[in-house]
């Protein structure tokens, strides 16, 4: 179960967020009328995917006792018309053979946030006063 809260006031477009009990700020960049005090919404989406990928691969390598020293994940979101796409690049550090690297890349395809994004998730919205 995950929780977050977002508040926006009248300063364009600064949003203060509590993600779990961690404080974050989000905004739009100047060309969209914001002040870039934090990442924009799609950048947070990319961050969620990056974080999930890195953590899941680390958990997996640990269980297998593979010598994975570090994982770098680079995620790019692009949109053409209404269709969005995400490209993810993985880099592994450590004495891993080709098969282990291929296996990690395969596991990346099934991390929880990857599946949520690929499958779509229902969202219910209600007014609270």
């Amino acid at each position: 179960m995950a929780h977050a809260k977002a508040n926006i006031g009248t300063t364009n477009y600064a949003v203060s967020i509590m993600a779990g009990h961690h404080q974050l700020s989000a905004d739009e960049r100047a060309e969209l009328g914001g002040q870039d005090v934090g990442p924009a919404p799609y950048e947070l989406l990319c961050a969620a995917l990056c974080a999930c990928t890195a953590i899941t691969l680390r958990m997996y390598a640990e269980r297998k006792k593979w010598p994975l020293r570090a994982v770098h994940v680079d995620v790019r979101y692009t949109q053409e018309g209404k269709k969005g796409a995400i490209a993810r690049v993985l880099t592994f550090e450590g004495e891993l053979d080709g098969e282990q690297r291929a296996r990690l890349a395969d596991v990346a395809e099934r991390t929880p946030v990857t599946l949520t994004l690929k499958q779509g998730v229902p969202i219910t919205t209600t007014l609270w006063s």
Binding site: E28, P39, D74, T116, G120, I123
Partner: protein, 148 residues
């Protein structure tokens, strides 16, 4: 244009450094999942993306119409629930994701305006992305150990 987001996860359990243009974030898992809770976990970041997008989109909409929206609060939660046609099933693969979002608007708005803003929040870009299926392509970067 969304800037690229890079994550580096080193040997410390499961803390990652996330960089987005000039912004640095830290992600982690809570202690009960083996982390040190130095930052939000991945699903909390995902909810943050949705809550932020809804807030900004509604604010832009209200501004264009010069509606007196003073502020907006969004509470979000993510959980796994049983698929509706499988209530009572206990196997893991019947669980589906669900996100719930509760919104309150501050300001002297009519009931009609509040309902319209709720509708706009439900049509923000990240909402569309999450409720549809998005393609994720992956590749491994060439090599590795040469990198610091």
């Amino acid at each position: 244009m969304t800037r690229d987001v890079c994550v580096d996860a080193g040997p410390s359990q499961y803390l990652e450094n996330i960089s987005v243009g000039p912004h640095a974030l830290v992600g982690d898992e809570p202690a009960d999942a083996g982390g040190a809770d130095a930052g939000p976990n991945p699903y909390e970041l995902l909810l943050a993306a949705l809550g932020t997008c809804a807030s900004i989109t509604v604010r832009m909409y209200a501004q264009r119409r010069q509606w007196p929206l003073r502020g907006m609060r969004v509470r979000l939660s993510h959980g796994k629930v049983h698929a509706e046609d499988c209530a009572g099933c206990e196997t893991e693969n019947t669980m589906i994701d669900r996100i719930e979002m509760e919104i309150s608007f501050l300001g002297d708005l009519s009931e009609g305006q509040r309902l319209r803003l709720l509708e706009i929040a439900n049509r923000c870009p990240v909402h569309r992305t999450l409720t549809s299926r998005i393609e994720i392509s992956a590749r491994q970067a060439p090599s590795t150990d040469a990198m610091s």
